[in-house]
Symmetry: C2
Subunit: 399 residues, 2 copies
Amino acid sequence: MAIVVQKYGGSSVGTVEKIKMVAQSIIKRKMNGDSLVVVVSAMGDTTDDLIDLAKQVTGNPDKRELDALLSTGEMISSSLLAMALKDLGHDAVSYTAYQIGIRTSGQYGKSLIDDIDESKIKESIDEGKIVIAAGFQGINEEGDITTLGRGGSDTTAVAIAVKLKGICEIYTDVDGIYSVDPRKYVKAKKLSEIDYEEMLELASLGAQVMHSRSVELGQKYGIPIYVGLSNSDIKGTVIREVTNVNMESKPVTGLATSDEDIAVTIQNISNDINVLSNLFEALASRRINIDMISQTSPVDEKVNISFTIPKEDLKECLGIVKNYADKNSINIDEDITKFSIVGIGMKTTSGVAAKMFKLFSGNNILVKMITTSEIRITCAIRQADKLKAINLIAEEFKL
Amino acid sequence: MAIVVQKYGGSSVGTVEKIKMVAQSIIKRKMNGDSLVVVVSAMGDTTDDLIDLAKQVTGNPDKRELDALLSTGEMISSSLLAMALKDLGHDAVSYTAYQIGIRTSGQYGKSLIDDIDESKIKESIDEGKIVIAAGFQGINEEGDITTLGRGGSDTTAVAIAVKLKGICEIYTDVDGIYSVDPRKYVKAKKLSEIDYEEMLELASLGAQVMHSRSVELGQKYGIPIYVGLSNSDIKGTVIREVTNVNMESKPVTGLATSDEDIAVTIQNISNDINVLSNLFEALASRRINIDMISQTSPVDEKVNISFTIPKEDLKECLGIVKNYADKNSINIDEDITKFSIVGIGMKTTSGVAAKMFKLFSGNNILVKMITTSEIRITCAIRQADKLKAINLIAEEFKL
């Protein structure tokens, strides 16, 4: 008998009818002889509605109080699901973060799970109960309610699976992980499995299926994570360590694009390492997330430097950059699509980058910036070239 | 510097605008130099909306889960109020029942407060913070969330005032306690003060202003409770021990009526004490709340017995009564208004009942049943006579 930790996302429990359907799925699974722990997100748009309510009170809601407010969304859905299960004759019990000791640290709104006291969950399982745990929330050292950030219920589920040495299943409104976003490339293929590293790269590139920290946690403790549709027999994708990387494996597993960034270029900035490190430290201290960085070779001890930042941070970024460079030497390029290919096969397959750049140059796709990791290549290209690039690369690497 | 425990009811925090107005009132009060602890109910109809949601899931929601669900209403309003206060530049912190150790026992949905760990509240007060406490909720020995019953936030406020040795103020949508419900008697007078006992009698008779248990708690620990309008300079009513009862005091303080009961009469039931006590024990075991009881003198060891019960319990009551009496000997009288006068002055003033019955008989008001306590006289009369009776008695006793 296995312990199965399932997570149902907000759209899966968006209405009372859907909650009842989820209850049926849970019972079906329990009838197989497994013990069930179920983590739920807030119903549908509840979290956004609560944020709206807070914004009506104040343009700048206190972060501690906002977390306390938002945590109610998952309490509502978890108690309703427990009621639905009991109504169908199966004993169930809902628990808040307090009740099962989900200890967190870090900032409000993006806390990290330090530990979970699994004893109460185990006790309830031993009593034959289906345990429903409110996702997305925790309690910090001060006893305050904190939340884990958008998608944080995924991380709650994986963390519970880690503590219970269980199987983890994430049910959502997509039927698995695709090599390319199917909305952008209709011929995209669903992956039966994907490595943690690949998933993390894809997630960081804007594939919003999973909360990145849940994947990291799964990787750290070796817990495979199934991602698929709720209430469906369609097979989803398993995120796990993929060890059989050989010459026959595909070098590229997935492709992701993002239009959320813009590029800032500073011309003729001093090539003094102190100047540059001070600039980037100042940006980091304001939590401006710099992604791609490229720098030209120094001429007269001056360099040109470009980097990308999230669009919404532009104003704050420019305020800082102005302390380091003349206004006239700062250029903004808003026409940026980050185009990335990911695959653990790149570790053993050479020539992937060359193939990509050759395809781009042969098709008039301008590459503005490049960054790479061991399993990823990212280019900044023009937004107008995005679809062409997706089709070229997806065809080439059979995604 | 006093510690003031204020409670704002659901209508006082029914909208974001109203929450902001409450925040202004709290700050005004704090500027006087007092320390503030504020207990809030759920916004407007939130509790009813949550009950509706549960009823959509199942006709018979699990009581533990229903309490967990309902407790979110007060968490939402308390965090929003704390945000509003912070937005106005005053440090504030919201606490759930868990966080300030509101320990309860008894049944879900109508738990009793056993104790409150006031240390966290005191600590926050010492830090200059306005403390917002979620009303209506507690945590029982099993660590489950429980609720205190409708109006339970009043009891939360008084209990906190008891622990902090503070002043208690209940703000609601009525401007105080009236001798008679002003909707039933337009000339009704507002009382500047009322004794705990009188308030309890009135509350049990259907005056819905206060949660009875909050008044009992105030009485037990000698905490005066102010009841009045929020955001208003209109003076309300103080519930306290009224000691200056003398010949010049009015013998009758208040009058209340209720149409929520019906009378059950059983004819020719055995006058065996075992039969009657078994009957009433059986009714009590099903939590059927019997109020007025009257019994005729025995004839041939048989008696007629009448008692009133809440209308909604009729079906269950008849199911039990049929085990003790022939179907044809059971009569139901649905035309019942319970008419009560209350006053601690009755302890020292005689002839109140005589005056009342004389007025009734002189005006063709049929008295069907009578019960009395030391400070209360209740008659069951016809519903059609209710307004006439209110006017006669209110005029006579200058209510």
